[in-house]
Amino acid sequence: MKTAFLILGLVFAAACDDNDSSDTSGPGTGSDDPENFTAFVIDMIEQHTDAVSAPIAFGVFAELPDDDTNNVHAYDSLF
Protein backbone atom coordinates (compact mmCIF):
# COMPACT_ATOMS: atom_id res chain seq x y z
CA MET A 1 0.00 0.00 0.00
CA LYS A 2 1.31 3.41 -0.88
CA THR A 3 2.19 6.06 1.52
CA ALA A 4 -1.00 7.67 0.98
CA PHE A 5 -3.59 8.42 3.41
CA LEU A 6 -6.65 6.57 4.28
CA ILE A 7 -9.95 8.18 4.37
CA LEU A 8 -12.70 6.70 6.29
CA GLY A 9 -16.27 7.31 5.60
CA LEU A 10 -18.96 5.94 7.75
CA VAL A 11 -22.50 5.95 6.67
CA PHE A 12 -24.27 7.47 9.54
CA ALA A 13 -27.71 8.03 8.22
CA ALA A 14 -29.43 4.92 9.29
CA ALA A 15 -27.44 4.72 12.41
CA CYS A 16 -28.74 8.10 13.40
CA ASP A 17 -32.26 6.84 13.27
CA ASP A 18 -33.67 6.68 16.72
CA ASN A 19 -36.49 4.36 15.96
CA ASP A 20 -36.53 0.75 16.95
CA SER A 21 -34.54 -0.50 14.00
CA SER A 22 -31.09 0.19 15.41
CA ASP A 23 -29.14 -2.60 16.97
CA THR A 24 -27.25 -2.01 20.17
CA SER A 25 -25.79 -5.46 20.28
CA GLY A 26 -23.23 -5.20 17.52
CA PRO A 27 -19.62 -4.17 17.48
CA GLY A 28 -18.69 -1.91 20.29
CA THR A 29 -20.79 -3.61 22.85
CA GLY A 30 -20.30 -6.53 25.12
CA SER A 31 -17.09 -8.01 26.36
CA ASP A 32 -15.20 -7.40 23.13
CA ASP A 33 -15.66 -3.66 23.12
CA PRO A 34 -13.28 -2.15 20.60
CA GLU A 35 -10.97 0.37 22.15
CA ASN A 36 -11.28 2.89 19.36
CA PHE A 37 -13.13 3.83 16.20
CA THR A 38 -10.74 1.98 13.92
CA ALA A 39 -11.27 -1.29 15.72
CA PHE A 40 -15.01 -0.74 15.68
CA VAL A 41 -15.11 -0.22 11.92
CA ILE A 42 -12.87 -3.17 11.15
CA ASP A 43 -14.89 -5.41 13.43
CA MET A 44 -18.13 -4.24 11.83
CA ILE A 45 -16.91 -5.02 8.33
CA GLU A 46 -15.19 -8.28 9.15
CA GLN A 47 -17.74 -9.73 11.53
CA HIS A 48 -21.12 -8.22 10.76
CA THR A 49 -21.44 -7.88 6.98
CA ASP A 50 -23.16 -11.16 6.42
CA ALA A 51 -25.00 -11.22 9.69
CA VAL A 52 -28.66 -10.37 9.67
CA SER A 53 -28.80 -7.39 11.94
CA ALA A 54 -30.08 -3.85 12.05
CA PRO A 55 -27.69 -0.92 11.79
CA ILE A 56 -25.59 -0.24 14.84
CA ALA A 57 -26.97 2.66 16.87
CA PHE A 58 -25.05 5.90 16.53
CA GLY A 59 -24.57 6.14 20.25
CA VAL A 60 -22.52 2.96 20.24
CA PHE A 61 -19.71 4.49 18.22
CA ALA A 62 -20.30 8.25 18.36
CA GLU A 63 -17.87 8.81 21.21
CA LEU A 64 -15.24 6.21 20.41
CA PRO A 65 -11.81 7.83 20.20
CA ASP A 66 -10.32 8.01 16.72
CA ASP A 67 -6.69 7.29 17.47
CA ASP A 68 -5.64 6.85 13.87
CA THR A 69 -6.24 10.19 12.20
CA ASN A 70 -2.55 10.32 11.28
CA ASN A 71 -2.01 6.60 10.73
CA VAL A 72 -2.15 5.88 7.01
CA HIS A 73 -1.96 2.15 7.66
CA ALA A 74 -4.81 1.95 10.14
CA TYR A 75 -7.10 0.11 7.75
CA ASP A 76 -4.54 -1.90 5.78
CA SER A 77 -5.99 -5.15 7.02
CA LEU A 78 -9.19 -4.56 5.07
CA PHE A 79 -7.51 -4.60 1.68
Binding site: A13, A14, S21, D23, I45, P55, I56
Partner: protein
Amino acid sequence: MKLHVKLLGGATALATFFVPSDGWASSHREAPFITKNPKVDGTDVYAFNSYQPGRDGYVTLLANYIPFQDPTGGPNFFTMDPDALYEIHIDNNGDAKEDITFQFDFAQMLANGSGITLPVGPAGDTQNVAVPYIAIAPISATEDTGQNLFETYTVNVVHGDRRTGKSQSIAAVAGGTTFRKPLDNIGLKTIPDYDTYAAAFIYDVTIPGCTPPNGTNARLFVGQRKESFSVNVGQIFDLFNLQPSGTGGNVANILGAQFQGFDDLVSKNITTLALEVPASCLTTDAQHPTIGVWSTASVRQARVINPTPTFDNPTREGGPWAQISRLGNPLINEVIIGLKDKDKFNSSEPQNDKQFAVYVTNPTLPEVIELLFGGAGVRAPDLFPRADLVATFLTGIPGVNENGATGEMLRLNTSVPPTSRSAQNTLGAATCFDPANADTNAQLNLSRAGCDPAGFPNGRRPGDDVTDIEIRVAMGFLLNTTVAPSGQLPFVDGAGTNALVFEDAFPYLRSPKPGAPQVPPPGDPVPAADAGDLQ
Protein backbone atom coordinates in the same frame (compact mmCIF):
# COMPACT_ATOMS: atom_id res chain seq x y z
CA MET B 1 -43.55 17.46 -3.84
CA LYS B 2 -46.17 15.36 -2.83
CA LEU B 3 -49.60 15.56 -2.95
CA HIS B 4 -51.68 13.23 -1.44
CA VAL B 5 -55.11 13.22 -2.07
CA LYS B 6 -57.20 11.79 0.33
CA LEU B 7 -60.46 10.97 -0.65
CA LEU B 8 -62.95 10.16 1.49
CA GLY B 9 -64.75 7.42 1.81
CA GLY B 10 -67.45 5.87 0.40
CA ALA B 11 -70.68 6.69 1.81
CA THR B 12 -69.79 9.36 4.18
CA ALA B 13 -67.81 11.32 1.87
CA LEU B 14 -65.76 13.37 3.96
CA ALA B 15 -63.27 14.02 1.62
CA THR B 16 -59.96 14.30 2.91
CA PHE B 17 -57.23 14.51 0.54
CA PHE B 18 -54.07 14.68 1.96
CA VAL B 19 -51.41 16.68 0.90
CA PRO B 20 -47.99 16.86 1.87
CA SER B 21 -46.49 20.03 1.95
CA ASP B 22 -44.38 21.92 -0.27
CA GLY B 23 -41.79 20.94 -2.49
CA TRP B 24 -41.56 19.75 -5.80
CA ALA B 25 -39.43 17.41 -7.56
CA SER B 26 -41.11 14.45 -6.10
CA SER B 27 -38.10 13.41 -4.12
CA HIS B 28 -35.02 14.58 -5.92
CA ARG B 29 -32.18 15.56 -3.59
CA GLU B 30 -34.81 16.09 -0.93
CA ALA B 31 -32.69 15.52 2.18
CA PRO B 32 -29.22 16.78 3.12
CA PHE B 33 -27.51 13.42 3.47
CA ILE B 34 -28.92 11.86 0.33
CA THR B 35 -27.31 14.62 -1.74
CA LYS B 36 -24.00 12.93 -0.92
CA ASN B 37 -25.29 9.65 -2.31
CA PRO B 38 -26.98 10.38 -5.64
CA LYS B 39 -26.74 6.80 -6.90
CA VAL B 40 -29.17 5.66 -4.21
CA ASP B 41 -31.43 8.71 -4.24
CA GLY B 42 -34.94 7.41 -4.89
CA THR B 43 -36.92 10.05 -6.77
CA ASP B 44 -40.34 8.68 -7.67
CA VAL B 45 -42.47 5.60 -7.17
CA TYR B 46 -45.37 4.60 -9.38
CA ALA B 47 -47.82 1.80 -8.72
CA PHE B 48 -50.84 1.29 -10.94
CA ASN B 49 -53.01 -1.34 -12.48
CA SER B 50 -51.45 -1.96 -15.87
CA TYR B 51 -53.32 -0.18 -18.64
CA GLN B 52 -51.40 -1.68 -21.53
CA PRO B 53 -53.98 -3.55 -23.61
CA GLY B 54 -53.89 -7.26 -22.85
CA ARG B 55 -52.33 -6.88 -19.41
CA ASP B 56 -55.43 -6.99 -17.27
CA GLY B 57 -54.75 -8.32 -13.82
CA TYR B 58 -51.22 -6.96 -13.62
CA VAL B 59 -49.78 -4.23 -11.45
CA THR B 60 -46.86 -2.13 -12.69
CA LEU B 61 -44.29 -1.00 -10.13
CA LEU B 62 -41.75 1.67 -11.10
CA ALA B 63 -39.02 2.99 -8.81
CA ASN B 64 -36.80 5.78 -10.11
CA TYR B 65 -33.32 6.62 -8.84
CA ILE B 66 -30.43 9.00 -9.54
CA PRO B 67 -31.95 12.47 -10.05
CA PHE B 68 -31.10 15.27 -12.43
CA GLN B 69 -29.25 13.13 -14.94
CA ASP B 70 -27.88 15.39 -17.62
CA PRO B 71 -27.92 13.39 -20.87
CA THR B 72 -24.43 14.68 -21.61
CA GLY B 73 -23.09 13.47 -18.26
CA GLY B 74 -20.31 11.27 -19.57
CA PRO B 75 -17.96 9.64 -19.80
CA ASN B 76 -19.18 7.41 -16.98
CA PHE B 77 -22.86 8.37 -17.10
CA PHE B 78 -25.18 6.95 -14.43
CA THR B 79 -24.45 3.43 -13.30
CA MET B 80 -26.19 1.96 -10.28
CA ASP B 81 -24.26 1.50 -7.05
CA PRO B 82 -22.93 -2.08 -6.94
CA ASP B 83 -22.52 -1.80 -3.18
CA ALA B 84 -26.12 -0.79 -2.51
CA LEU B 85 -29.39 -2.64 -2.20
CA TYR B 86 -32.41 -1.20 -4.01
CA GLU B 87 -35.80 -2.39 -2.83
CA ILE B 88 -39.53 -2.10 -3.57
CA HIS B 89 -41.71 -3.04 -0.62
CA ILE B 90 -45.31 -4.18 -0.49
CA ASP B 91 -47.57 -4.16 2.57
CA ASN B 92 -50.60 -6.30 1.80
CA ASN B 93 -52.09 -6.90 5.23
CA GLY B 94 -52.36 -3.38 6.59
CA ASP B 95 -49.72 -3.42 9.30
CA ALA B 96 -47.37 -0.88 7.64
CA LYS B 97 -44.65 -3.55 7.46
CA GLU B 98 -43.34 -5.11 4.28
CA ASP B 99 -44.83 -8.49 3.40
CA ILE B 100 -43.16 -8.73 0.00
CA THR B 101 -39.91 -7.07 -1.03
CA PHE B 102 -38.25 -7.04 -4.44
CA GLN B 103 -34.51 -6.64 -3.96
CA PHE B 104 -32.30 -5.41 -6.81
CA ASP B 105 -28.57 -6.04 -6.47
CA PHE B 106 -26.28 -4.63 -9.17
CA ALA B 107 -22.82 -5.51 -10.41
CA GLN B 108 -20.59 -3.99 -13.04
CA MET B 109 -17.63 -5.36 -14.92
CA LEU B 110 -15.23 -4.38 -17.64
CA ALA B 111 -15.21 -6.15 -20.97
CA ASN B 112 -13.02 -9.23 -20.86
CA GLY B 113 -12.41 -8.60 -17.18
CA SER B 114 -9.96 -5.74 -17.54
CA GLY B 115 -11.49 -3.67 -20.32
CA ILE B 116 -11.01 -3.15 -24.02
CA THR B 117 -7.48 -2.33 -25.10
CA LEU B 118 -6.06 -0.94 -28.30
CA PRO B 119 -2.58 -1.62 -29.68
CA VAL B 120 -0.76 1.70 -29.58
CA GLY B 121 2.77 2.40 -30.72
CA PRO B 122 5.06 1.97 -33.69
CA ALA B 123 4.62 -1.06 -35.85
CA GLY B 124 6.23 -4.04 -34.24
CA ASP B 125 6.41 -2.38 -30.87
CA THR B 126 2.83 -1.66 -29.87
CA GLN B 127 1.44 -1.81 -26.41
CA ASN B 128 -2.11 -2.78 -25.56
CA VAL B 129 -3.54 0.20 -23.71
CA ALA B 130 -6.88 0.31 -21.95
CA VAL B 131 -9.41 2.72 -23.47
CA PRO B 132 -11.04 5.38 -21.29
CA TYR B 133 -14.61 5.15 -22.57
CA ILE B 134 -17.52 2.84 -21.86
CA ALA B 135 -18.07 2.28 -25.57
CA ILE B 136 -15.75 2.62 -28.54
CA ALA B 137 -18.05 1.52 -31.35
CA PRO B 138 -21.78 1.64 -32.17
CA ILE B 139 -23.88 -0.56 -29.89
CA SER B 140 -27.11 -2.38 -30.62
CA ALA B 141 -29.14 -5.18 -29.12
CA THR B 142 -27.16 -7.67 -31.19
CA GLU B 143 -23.77 -5.99 -31.35
CA ASP B 144 -21.85 -5.05 -28.22
CA THR B 145 -18.25 -5.90 -29.03
CA GLY B 146 -17.41 -2.23 -28.63
CA GLN B 147 -18.94 -2.05 -25.18
CA ASN B 148 -16.36 -1.62 -22.44
CA LEU B 149 -18.55 -1.58 -19.33
CA PHE B 150 -21.40 -3.93 -18.49
CA GLU B 151 -23.97 -3.73 -15.74
CA THR B 152 -25.89 -6.74 -14.53
CA TYR B 153 -28.30 -7.35 -11.69
CA THR B 154 -30.22 -9.97 -9.81
CA VAL B 155 -33.66 -9.64 -8.28
CA ASN B 156 -34.84 -11.54 -5.25
CA VAL B 157 -38.34 -11.63 -3.88
CA VAL B 158 -38.50 -11.78 -0.10
CA HIS B 159 -41.63 -12.82 1.71
CA GLY B 160 -41.77 -11.44 5.22
CA ASP B 161 -39.22 -9.17 6.84
CA ARG B 162 -36.84 -7.76 4.25
CA ARG B 163 -33.78 -9.03 6.11
CA THR B 164 -34.97 -12.23 7.73
CA GLY B 165 -37.77 -13.41 5.43
CA LYS B 166 -37.67 -16.13 2.82
CA SER B 167 -35.61 -14.91 -0.14
CA GLN B 168 -35.83 -16.48 -3.59
CA SER B 169 -34.43 -15.54 -6.97
CA ILE B 170 -36.55 -14.20 -9.79
CA ALA B 171 -35.59 -15.99 -13.00
CA ALA B 172 -35.88 -15.23 -16.67
CA VAL B 173 -38.37 -17.41 -18.50
CA ALA B 174 -35.59 -18.00 -20.97
CA GLY B 175 -33.34 -19.14 -18.14
CA GLY B 176 -30.89 -17.57 -15.75
CA THR B 177 -31.16 -15.27 -12.77
CA THR B 178 -28.72 -12.57 -13.86
CA PHE B 179 -30.12 -9.78 -15.98
CA ARG B 180 -28.44 -7.10 -18.05
CA LYS B 181 -29.00 -3.37 -17.85
CA PRO B 182 -28.66 -1.40 -21.10
CA LEU B 183 -26.12 1.34 -21.48
CA ASP B 184 -27.38 4.83 -20.83
CA ASN B 185 -28.28 6.82 -23.92
CA ILE B 186 -24.80 8.09 -24.73
CA GLY B 187 -25.91 9.49 -28.06
CA LEU B 188 -27.23 8.63 -31.47
CA LYS B 189 -23.86 7.70 -32.91
CA THR B 190 -23.14 5.18 -30.16
CA ILE B 191 -26.68 3.77 -29.97
CA PRO B 192 -28.51 4.72 -33.18
CA ASP B 193 -31.84 3.07 -32.26
CA TYR B 194 -32.23 3.32 -28.51
CA ASP B 195 -35.88 2.22 -28.47
CA THR B 196 -35.10 -1.11 -30.10
CA TYR B 197 -31.91 -1.47 -28.10
CA ALA B 198 -33.58 -0.96 -24.73
CA ALA B 199 -36.54 -3.18 -25.61
CA ALA B 200 -34.16 -6.12 -25.76
CA PHE B 201 -33.61 -5.73 -22.01
CA ILE B 202 -37.26 -6.30 -21.08
CA TYR B 203 -37.43 -9.78 -19.57
CA ASP B 204 -40.29 -12.19 -19.14
CA VAL B 205 -39.72 -13.58 -15.68
CA THR B 206 -40.97 -16.15 -13.24
CA ILE B 207 -41.50 -15.12 -9.65
CA PRO B 208 -41.31 -17.90 -7.06
CA GLY B 209 -44.71 -18.62 -5.60
CA CYS B 210 -46.50 -16.57 -8.24
CA THR B 211 -48.76 -17.99 -10.93
CA PRO B 212 -49.42 -15.52 -13.77
CA PRO B 213 -52.65 -15.36 -15.78
CA ASN B 214 -52.73 -17.96 -18.52
CA GLY B 215 -50.56 -17.17 -21.49
CA THR B 216 -48.74 -14.29 -19.82
CA ASN B 217 -45.62 -13.66 -17.80
CA ALA B 218 -44.45 -11.14 -15.27
CA ARG B 219 -41.95 -8.65 -16.72
CA LEU B 220 -38.80 -6.90 -15.62
CA PHE B 221 -36.75 -3.98 -16.89
CA VAL B 222 -34.03 -1.78 -15.45
CA GLY B 223 -32.55 1.05 -17.42
CA GLN B 224 -32.29 4.74 -18.11
CA ARG B 225 -35.49 6.55 -19.08
CA LYS B 226 -36.49 10.10 -19.80
CA GLU B 227 -37.29 11.84 -16.51
CA SER B 228 -40.95 11.09 -15.83
CA PHE B 229 -41.64 13.77 -13.27
CA SER B 230 -42.53 17.28 -14.34
CA VAL B 231 -42.20 20.33 -12.16
CA ASN B 232 -40.89 23.84 -12.21
CA VAL B 233 -38.62 23.07 -9.36
CA GLY B 234 -36.40 26.07 -9.85
CA GLN B 235 -39.24 28.53 -9.51
CA ILE B 236 -40.77 26.70 -6.60
CA PHE B 237 -37.62 26.67 -4.55
CA ASP B 238 -37.03 30.31 -5.46
CA LEU B 239 -39.66 31.41 -2.95
CA PHE B 240 -42.38 30.06 -5.20
CA ASN B 241 -41.32 32.44 -7.91
CA LEU B 242 -44.60 32.07 -9.73
CA GLN B 243 -46.81 34.84 -10.98
CA PRO B 244 -49.92 35.30 -8.84
CA SER B 245 -51.80 36.56 -11.84
CA GLY B 246 -51.73 36.31 -15.58
CA THR B 247 -49.04 38.85 -16.08
CA GLY B 248 -46.88 36.30 -17.80
CA GLY B 249 -43.17 36.65 -18.36
CA ASN B 250 -40.54 34.06 -17.73
CA VAL B 251 -42.21 32.39 -14.78
CA ALA B 252 -45.36 30.35 -14.57
CA ASN B 253 -48.70 31.66 -13.39
CA ILE B 254 -49.68 29.79 -10.20
CA LEU B 255 -53.33 30.17 -11.16
CA GLY B 256 -52.88 29.71 -14.88
CA ALA B 257 -53.03 26.70 -17.17
CA GLN B 258 -51.71 23.35 -16.01
CA PHE B 259 -49.07 23.39 -18.71
CA GLN B 260 -47.51 26.72 -19.52
CA GLY B 261 -44.46 25.64 -21.49
CA PHE B 262 -42.15 25.36 -18.50
CA ASP B 263 -40.74 22.15 -17.00
CA ASP B 264 -37.35 22.20 -15.35
CA LEU B 265 -36.97 18.43 -15.73
CA VAL B 266 -37.90 18.18 -19.39
CA SER B 267 -34.34 17.64 -20.55
CA LYS B 268 -33.27 15.28 -17.76
CA ASN B 269 -33.07 11.51 -17.53
CA ILE B 270 -33.64 9.05 -14.70
CA THR B 271 -32.96 5.37 -14.01
CA THR B 272 -35.98 3.12 -13.59
CA LEU B 273 -36.46 -0.22 -11.88
CA ALA B 274 -39.62 -1.68 -13.39
CA LEU B 275 -41.60 -4.79 -12.52
CA GLU B 276 -44.96 -5.92 -13.75
CA VAL B 277 -46.45 -8.44 -11.36
CA PRO B 278 -49.83 -10.20 -11.28
CA ALA B 279 -52.01 -8.40 -8.76
CA SER B 280 -52.92 -11.76 -7.27
CA CYS B 281 -49.26 -12.24 -6.34
CA LEU B 282 -49.15 -8.97 -4.42
CA THR B 283 -52.38 -9.22 -2.44
CA THR B 284 -53.34 -11.68 0.25
CA ASP B 285 -56.72 -12.42 -1.31
CA ALA B 286 -59.47 -10.81 -3.35
CA GLN B 287 -61.13 -9.47 -0.20
CA HIS B 288 -58.07 -7.36 0.58
CA PRO B 289 -57.19 -5.73 -2.75
CA THR B 290 -55.28 -2.70 -1.47
CA ILE B 291 -51.51 -2.73 -1.24
CA GLY B 292 -49.09 -0.21 0.19
CA VAL B 293 -45.97 0.44 -1.88
CA TRP B 294 -42.70 2.21 -1.15
CA SER B 295 -39.12 2.05 -2.33
CA THR B 296 -35.89 2.23 -0.36
CA ALA B 297 -32.17 2.06 -0.92
CA SER B 298 -29.65 0.84 1.60
CA VAL B 299 -25.89 0.81 1.83
CA ARG B 300 -23.50 -0.97 4.15
CA GLN B 301 -23.07 0.94 7.37
CA ALA B 302 -19.31 1.21 7.09
CA ARG B 303 -17.30 2.37 4.09
CA VAL B 304 -13.55 2.61 4.06
CA ILE B 305 -11.94 4.21 1.03
CA ASN B 306 -9.15 2.24 -0.60
CA PRO B 307 -6.13 4.55 -0.88
CA THR B 308 -4.97 2.53 -3.85
CA PRO B 309 -8.31 1.99 -5.59
CA THR B 310 -8.95 -0.44 -8.39
CA PHE B 311 -11.95 -0.63 -10.68
CA ASP B 312 -13.35 -3.50 -8.65
CA ASN B 313 -12.38 -2.25 -5.20
CA PRO B 314 -12.44 1.51 -4.73
CA THR B 315 -13.77 0.95 -1.22
CA ARG B 316 -14.30 -1.77 1.31
CA GLU B 317 -17.86 -1.70 2.59
CA GLY B 318 -19.35 -3.80 5.31
CA GLY B 319 -21.58 -4.08 8.31
CA PRO B 320 -25.37 -4.25 8.37
CA TRP B 321 -27.49 -2.65 5.66
CA ALA B 322 -28.42 0.91 6.58
CA GLN B 323 -31.39 2.46 4.76
CA ILE B 324 -30.73 6.00 3.54
CA SER B 325 -33.50 6.53 0.98
CA ARG B 326 -37.25 6.04 1.26
CA LEU B 327 -40.11 7.04 -1.00
CA GLY B 328 -43.83 6.30 -1.18
CA ASN B 329 -46.09 9.21 -2.04
CA PRO B 330 -44.48 11.98 -4.06
CA LEU B 331 -43.14 15.06 -2.33
CA ILE B 332 -43.65 13.95 1.25
CA ASN B 333 -40.07 14.26 2.36
CA GLU B 334 -39.42 17.07 -0.02
CA VAL B 335 -42.14 19.45 1.04
CA ILE B 336 -43.73 18.10 4.18
CA ILE B 337 -41.01 16.86 6.48
CA GLY B 338 -38.97 19.52 8.27
CA LEU B 339 -35.35 19.97 7.27
CA LYS B 340 -34.05 18.65 10.56
CA ASP B 341 -35.91 15.36 10.13
CA LYS B 342 -35.47 14.65 6.43
CA ASP B 343 -32.57 12.25 6.86
CA LYS B 344 -34.41 10.53 9.69
CA PHE B 345 -37.42 10.08 7.43
CA ASN B 346 -35.23 8.49 4.76
CA SER B 347 -33.98 5.93 7.28
CA SER B 348 -37.40 5.21 8.73
CA GLU B 349 -40.15 2.69 8.06
CA PRO B 350 -43.89 3.31 7.66
CA GLN B 351 -44.66 1.45 10.86
CA ASN B 352 -42.91 4.24 12.81
CA ASP B 353 -44.44 7.22 11.03
CA LYS B 354 -46.28 8.60 14.01
CA GLN B 355 -43.03 10.36 14.85
CA PHE B 356 -43.63 12.62 11.83
CA ALA B 357 -47.33 13.29 12.44
CA VAL B 358 -46.95 16.97 13.29
CA TYR B 359 -45.76 17.71 9.78
CA VAL B 360 -49.09 16.51 8.48
CA THR B 361 -51.43 17.79 11.16
CA ASN B 362 -49.83 21.23 11.04
CA PRO B 363 -48.32 21.52 7.55
CA THR B 364 -46.07 24.43 6.71
CA LEU B 365 -46.64 24.49 2.96
CA PRO B 366 -49.97 26.30 3.02
CA GLU B 367 -48.51 28.87 5.37
CA VAL B 368 -45.58 29.44 3.03
CA ILE B 369 -47.94 29.92 0.10
CA GLU B 370 -50.00 32.41 2.09
CA LEU B 371 -46.86 34.29 3.07
CA LEU B 372 -45.83 34.59 -0.54
CA PHE B 373 -49.21 35.20 -2.14
CA GLY B 374 -51.23 36.70 0.67
CA GLY B 375 -51.09 40.01 -1.10
CA ALA B 376 -53.07 38.44 -3.91
CA GLY B 377 -55.67 37.18 -1.47
CA VAL B 378 -54.43 33.61 -1.00
CA ARG B 379 -55.19 32.18 2.44
CA ALA B 380 -54.06 28.94 4.08
CA PRO B 381 -56.70 26.70 5.64
CA ASP B 382 -57.53 27.55 9.20
CA LEU B 383 -58.33 24.15 10.61
CA PHE B 384 -56.08 22.12 12.86
CA PRO B 385 -55.18 19.38 13.10
CA ARG B 386 -55.48 18.76 9.36
CA ALA B 387 -57.49 15.57 9.63
CA ASP B 388 -58.00 15.65 5.87
CA LEU B 389 -54.29 15.35 5.30
CA VAL B 390 -53.74 12.84 8.07
CA ALA B 391 -56.32 10.50 6.64
CA THR B 392 -54.92 10.54 3.18
CA PHE B 393 -51.32 10.50 4.23
CA LEU B 394 -51.41 7.84 6.88
CA THR B 395 -54.45 5.65 6.36
CA GLY B 396 -55.75 5.79 2.79
CA ILE B 397 -59.14 6.87 1.58
CA PRO B 398 -62.07 5.00 3.09
CA GLY B 399 -63.90 3.11 0.43
CA VAL B 400 -61.12 3.63 -2.09
CA ASN B 401 -57.69 2.58 -0.88
CA GLU B 402 -57.79 2.45 2.89
CA ASN B 403 -55.95 -0.68 4.00
CA GLY B 404 -56.00 -0.50 7.77
CA ALA B 405 -52.38 0.56 8.02
CA THR B 406 -51.16 3.76 9.60
CA GLY B 407 -48.06 4.81 7.74
CA GLU B 408 -46.98 6.76 4.69
CA MET B 409 -47.19 4.53 1.64
CA LEU B 410 -48.46 4.81 -1.91
CA ARG B 411 -51.73 2.90 -1.67
CA LEU B 412 -53.22 1.12 -4.65
CA ASN B 413 -56.56 -0.63 -4.76
CA THR B 414 -55.80 -3.34 -7.28
CA SER B 415 -59.50 -4.04 -7.85
CA VAL B 416 -60.17 -0.64 -9.43
CA PRO B 417 -60.21 -1.17 -13.20
CA PRO B 418 -57.46 0.69 -15.04
CA THR B 419 -58.34 3.68 -17.19
CA SER B 420 -57.05 3.52 -20.74
CA ARG B 421 -54.26 5.91 -21.59
CA SER B 422 -56.45 8.10 -23.78
CA ALA B 423 -59.15 8.40 -21.11
CA GLN B 424 -56.95 9.23 -18.12
CA ASN B 425 -57.41 12.51 -16.30
CA THR B 426 -54.20 14.17 -15.13
CA LEU B 427 -55.86 15.05 -11.84
CA GLY B 428 -56.53 11.37 -11.16
CA ALA B 429 -58.91 10.47 -8.37
CA ALA B 430 -59.07 14.12 -7.35
CA THR B 431 -61.62 14.43 -10.12
CA CYS B 432 -63.98 12.20 -8.17
CA PHE B 433 -64.98 14.89 -5.67
CA ASP B 434 -67.83 17.28 -5.80
CA PRO B 435 -66.39 20.65 -4.85
CA ALA B 436 -66.71 22.02 -1.37
CA ASN B 437 -68.80 25.04 -0.51
CA ALA B 438 -69.19 27.22 2.54
CA ASP B 439 -71.01 24.53 4.45
CA THR B 440 -69.73 21.23 3.08
CA ASN B 441 -66.42 19.56 2.56
CA ALA B 442 -65.66 18.09 -0.84
CA GLN B 443 -67.72 14.96 -1.34
CA LEU B 444 -66.48 11.78 -2.91
CA ASN B 445 -68.67 11.04 -5.92
CA LEU B 446 -67.43 8.14 -8.00
CA SER B 447 -70.17 8.73 -10.57
CA ARG B 448 -69.07 12.31 -11.15
CA ALA B 449 -68.46 13.12 -14.81
CA GLY B 450 -64.78 12.72 -15.64
CA CYS B 451 -64.06 10.83 -12.42
CA ASP B 452 -60.88 8.78 -12.84
CA PRO B 453 -60.52 6.65 -9.71
CA ALA B 454 -57.59 4.68 -11.14
CA GLY B 455 -55.22 7.61 -10.63
CA PHE B 456 -53.40 9.31 -7.82
CA PRO B 457 -53.82 9.10 -4.92
CA ASN B 458 -55.17 5.66 -5.67
CA GLY B 459 -51.72 4.51 -6.66
CA ARG B 460 -49.88 6.74 -9.07
CA ARG B 461 -49.53 6.65 -12.85
CA PRO B 462 -46.84 8.44 -14.85
CA GLY B 463 -49.35 10.89 -16.29
CA ASP B 464 -50.87 11.98 -12.98
CA ASP B 465 -50.07 15.63 -12.23
CA VAL B 466 -49.35 15.00 -8.58
CA THR B 467 -47.85 18.43 -8.05
CA ASP B 468 -51.00 20.29 -8.94
CA ILE B 469 -53.13 17.80 -7.02
CA GLU B 470 -51.06 18.11 -3.90
CA ILE B 471 -50.90 21.91 -3.93
CA ARG B 472 -54.63 22.11 -4.22
CA VAL B 473 -55.21 19.59 -1.47
CA ALA B 474 -52.72 21.32 0.77
CA MET B 475 -54.55 24.57 0.28
CA GLY B 476 -57.79 22.93 1.34
CA PHE B 477 -59.43 21.53 -1.77
CA LEU B 478 -61.26 19.01 0.36
CA LEU B 479 -62.31 21.41 3.08
CA ASN B 480 -65.27 23.70 3.15
CA THR B 481 -64.57 27.24 2.05
CA THR B 482 -65.26 28.67 5.46
CA VAL B 483 -62.05 27.16 6.83
CA ALA B 484 -60.25 27.02 3.48
CA PRO B 485 -61.13 30.20 1.59
CA SER B 486 -58.56 29.48 -1.13
CA GLY B 487 -59.25 25.76 -1.31
CA GLN B 488 -61.09 25.91 -4.59
CA LEU B 489 -58.50 27.94 -6.46
CA PRO B 490 -56.92 26.01 -9.36
CA PHE B 491 -53.32 26.12 -8.13
CA VAL B 492 -50.70 24.87 -10.58
CA ASP B 493 -46.94 24.96 -10.95
CA GLY B 494 -47.23 25.41 -14.69
CA ALA B 495 -45.43 22.17 -15.56
CA GLY B 496 -48.06 19.89 -16.89
CA THR B 497 -48.07 16.23 -17.78
CA ASN B 498 -50.48 13.64 -19.06
CA ALA B 499 -50.59 9.99 -20.02
CA LEU B 500 -50.02 10.72 -23.68
CA VAL B 501 -46.42 11.78 -23.10
CA PHE B 502 -45.71 8.24 -21.91
CA GLU B 503 -45.85 4.92 -23.68
CA ASP B 504 -48.88 2.66 -23.67
CA ALA B 505 -46.80 -0.38 -22.79
CA PHE B 506 -44.40 -1.61 -20.14
CA PRO B 507 -42.24 0.01 -18.85
CA TYR B 508 -44.34 3.02 -19.85
CA LEU B 509 -41.58 5.61 -19.34
CA ARG B 510 -39.98 6.77 -22.56
CA SER B 511 -36.47 6.29 -23.84
CA PRO B 512 -33.95 8.68 -22.34
CA LYS B 513 -32.77 11.85 -23.99
CA PRO B 514 -29.57 11.21 -25.95
CA GLY B 515 -26.33 12.82 -24.89
CA ALA B 516 -25.67 13.89 -28.45
CA PRO B 517 -26.47 15.51 -30.70
CA GLN B 518 -27.78 18.27 -28.48
CA VAL B 519 -30.41 20.66 -29.69
CA PRO B 520 -30.30 24.01 -27.89
CA PRO B 521 -33.53 24.54 -25.97
CA PRO B 522 -35.83 27.26 -27.27
CA GLY B 523 -34.73 30.66 -26.10
CA ASP B 524 -31.22 29.47 -25.36
CA PRO B 525 -29.47 29.49 -28.74
CA VAL B 526 -25.81 28.75 -29.15
CA PRO B 527 -23.89 32.05 -29.00
CA ALA B 528 -22.67 33.18 -32.39
CA ALA B 529 -18.99 32.82 -31.53
CA ASP B 530 -19.52 29.31 -30.22
CA ALA B 531 -21.57 28.40 -33.25
CA GLY B 532 -18.64 29.41 -35.41
CA ASP B 533 -16.33 27.23 -33.40
CA LEU B 534 -18.49 24.24 -34.13
CA GLN B 535 -18.06 24.58 -37.86
